[in-house]
Symmetry: C2
Subunit: 340 residues, 2 copies
């Protein structure tokens, strides 16, 4: 059996991927044409809007090849797209996978990457229906387009937050950033890959089922997933909704793991919480009287509670941190920027 892509060629590897998807992937009966033609095709469901998103992982930029398996890389690339569909209140349906590959990559590595994709898609009854393979000279890239659906008019946008709304957050933001810093600092430590926060960085979870349930409740005024960091993504809600926000320092969910990692890294845990971190948690806004209802919805889908961490106000663009002990101070909303 051949071992490298260059041994079996483009059509060889497409055949192997196709076989794997037929055996191990979810097959959707609304797909009228899968891999192997000029396009794929499917029948949309009446009464639903379609959601489309794409996201890319670039070797050396979004992941360190020596620190992650191909299986986990596949999971991670898919999670970031599933997370976007979930943050609209939608359900993922179909993925297109565009890969830039070096010919010396092993065929089994590619198969493992596809198993990583399927690990995330199968349980959601979502299917890979197409894609593209191309050769790169310099490092791998994975670009995924994910198509989802949501009942017409039920998508939760970033732009709906109103002054007076509560700000809720799922889980414990900042853990992914802490994991990345631990990984970079501990590159010579073989056990670093099993650190819980490094695992969180390498193989994050999504909150798509929670996002879907929140969307279905009709109670959220805005929602976003955290991929640019808590402050960056709350900033996106503020910009798109033309509002500002106040955060309550003592209510921010800093996990024990994060506090421990911050001490080890000699960093302020709040910097890790607020800064660039792709945690794929959700930030949600709602009218105050609906906060406890959304927290009850969350309990069914998420082991960690949905926490109320602040309020939306009518001061566009500003985010303020209120503290019982230190008074108020403005925060600078600076999400992850690829080009600075």
């Amino acid at each position: 059996m051949s071992d490298r892509i260059s041994d079996i060629g483009e059509f060889g590897i497409i055949g192997r991927i196709n076989d794997l998807l037929k055996k191990e992937g979810f097959l959707s009966e609304r797909v009228t044409l899968g891999i192997g033609d000029d396009t794929a095709s499917f029948l949309p469901r009446p009464g639903f809007e379609l959601l489309v998103t794409c996201d890319t992982l670039v070797e050396g930029r979004h992941y360190l090849p020596e620190s992650i398996s191909f299986f986990d890389l596949g999971r991670r690339a898919m999670v970031q797209n599933i997370s976007d569909i979930g943050a609209m209140g939608g359900r993922p349906l179909y993925a297109l996978i565009s890969l830039g590959l070096k010919p010396e990559i092993g065929v089994r590595d590619i198969e493992e990457m596809y198993r990583g994709f399927l690990r995330e898609l199968n349980s959601l009854e979502a299917a890979i229906i197409g894609g593209n393979l191309t050769r790169t000279a310099n490092g791998l890239f994975i670009d995924i387009t994910l198509i989802g659906e949501v009942e017409q008019g039920m998508a939760v946008h970033r732009s709906g937050a109103k002054p007076g709304d509560c700000i809720l957050v799922s889980g414990f933001p900042g853990q992914s950033a802490a994991g990345l810093h631990l990984l970079l600092q501990g590159q010579n430590n073989p056990r670093i890959l099993s650190h819980p926060l490094v695992r969180r960085y390498n193989t994050p979870s999504h909150r798509a089922l929670l996002g879907r349930a929140i969307g279905q409740s009709g109670l959220a005024t805005a929602m976003i997933d955290i991929s640019d960091g808590f402050l960056g993504d709350l900033g996106h809600i503020c910009t798109e909704s033309r509002v500002g926000a106040e955060l309550f320092k003592q209510k921010l969910p800093l996990s024990r793991d994060l506090l421990r990692a911050a001490a080890e890294l000699h960093r302020d845990p709040y910097d890790l919480f607020f800064g660039a971190s792709d945690d794929y948690e959700l930030i949600i806004t709602c009218q105050p009287q609906n906060a406890s209802l959304l927290q009850a919805v969350s309990k069914e889908h998420c082991p960690d509670p949905l926490r109320e961490v602040g309020r939306i106000n009518d001061l566009p663009g500003g985010i303020t941190l209120q503290s019982d002990t230190d008074g108020d101070r403005p925060l600078v909303s600076s999400g992850w920027d690829h080009f600075r």
Copy 2:
């Protein structure tokens, strides 16, 4: 005004692209959410299947950066996707643009690339509704996902060719390959970029309107666009339809430009015609009694006639070249393979 992406950052360039699309792009009223949220969304039309395809251009691999403008690069990247939708008999609707960029690229270069995308999309009333920007260390890539629609059950697949069917081809395949060879050979000649075949390689046309008309006629049994080369793509029809093909050497459309270029390049013009070449012409199969009807359909959309060049037979996998002067010989179906 800033000049490089690194000067205005990721959100700066997203803002500039968004402004450009609002001013210069087609706006579809079925798009319920455009750029600026976790996903884009649109309302599909009842009675239509959706078609999805993606294709990538990688710097140095699919194009030579010093030989093509950003505007033409945008056109070319979009044409290869439009061509795929057209080859199904569909109509392009929505594009997602995923770019891997170096921070030193000029903002105006990116705007020119988007103008190239729009040059191809606007006349088809198709819109850019989303995408992703990421940073690469090593060269640009453009990955486009294009979504189209076709009346339910009217898509023309690769798999429908039957023994006895005619094989038709639009235009003059091989010209793009000749253009690429001329470009590679004439890199020190500044006038080489205005050679008609080099123009064909750098800024190919698509036959999407022809493909759509052929699909609507209901007369084609199979259709494919030529992106792997004539023989490679006819080979895809044969494989998917489990048939073989005979080609008539004296009927193959070799353009005068191709013959002249072949002489200049000291190459067999038939090698250029058959081999890897992304001409974005269409190969169509149909029952013999429908060939002239399809040729009449073609006249309305295409200056060059649709030529009958062979027959489908029941010998799966084999493609034979029949010649009045040299007898028959088997051809090896070897399309463009990125990894060999």
